[in-house]
Symmetry: C2
Subunit: 175 residues, 2 copies
């Protein structure tokens, strides 16, 4: 591990090695266990495995499906930033994000979505109309990834893209 | 419930009411508990919540995010069909679907994907190269839904579609 020499003094290193286990890398299920125990979701139910997979897919630059120490630290920082963002968005302090709160959040991030699309998103990521932290992260990360994917092909920046079927599937199935 | 008069003699009805609880409808978490207990996944770990959500989204024609009795029966039939399909695809009887098995399955279903897209899909839905039943269902249902979404807009059937950003997001975020 090229990481380990510079990492021995890092308090995160002990934590990382405990989570990563024998192979020295963190996969989606190890991450799920770790995030469930951390209590970051504010509930006792398991942290979403889907969210773990989406986050690993975003950071896993060497395409192993697992995370090394540096990727793990990056993820930890990103998650804490999302947590701060979530607390800000949850204006009525209900512990969850509701339809109108998501609407404001998405607009503040610079996305322009129709009411129908927003409703479809809320339906997909909420439980009884409430969006919990793990699902909020999945929603935002996916929204950003799909928007990036779209923009990279929107060469004229007109909000319209010509997709070939295989390319469309490659971009949307993996996220 | 218009259902209930014709359903009292149906053995599934007792099971459905036990799963559905007070509101008489099954949501994603109730479905997850029920499928985990049924042992259909062939493992003791929880049945994927993502798969439950995807399946409910496919069958939920009245857009409540929950399933009534008829939708539940339909889902049960669909799941059993997927289980038969999974057993057929798992030619080496490893209990999971591997890269080459998925390749054959997808080709047999009539999809034509590039090797790169197949690799991206396997990476997303597998654990250590193995695709378990719940993730297999999520993968196939999502592949079908995204393909249907694409085809409905491919009026000339040329495998190329012009997407407007909002429409693209509405179709891909909700699946
Ligand atoms: Ca990696
Ligand atoms: Ca709130
Ligand atoms: Ca197999």
């Amino acid at each position: 591990y090229s990481d380990s020499y510079s990492s021995v003094g890092d308090p995160m290193w002990t934590y990382f090695t405990a989570v990563a286990g024998q192979d020295g890398e963190v996969d989606a299920e190890e991450l799920q266990k770790c995030l469930t125990q951390s209590g970051i979701n504010g509930t006792y139910s398991p942290f979403s495995l889907e969210t773990c997979r989406i986050m690993i897919a975003m950071l896993d630059r060497d395409y192993t499906g697992k995370m090394g120490f540096n990727e793990f630290k990056e993820l930890w920082a990103a998650l804490n930033a999302w947590k701060q963002n979530f607390i800000t968005i949850d204006q009525d302090h209900s512990g969850t994000v509701e339809h109108h709160e998501l609407n404001q959040a998405i607009a503040a991030m610079g996305y322009r979505l129709s009411p129908q699309t927003l409703t479809a998103i809320v339906k997909r990521y909420s439980k009884n109309g409430r969006i919990f932290f793990d699902d909020y992260v999945a929603c935002c990360v996916k929204l950003r990834a799909l928007t990036d994917f779209f923009r990279r092909r929107d060469h004229l920046q007109q909000g319209v893209v010509n997709f070939v079927y295989d390319d469309f599937l490659q971009g949307t199935m993996a996220i």
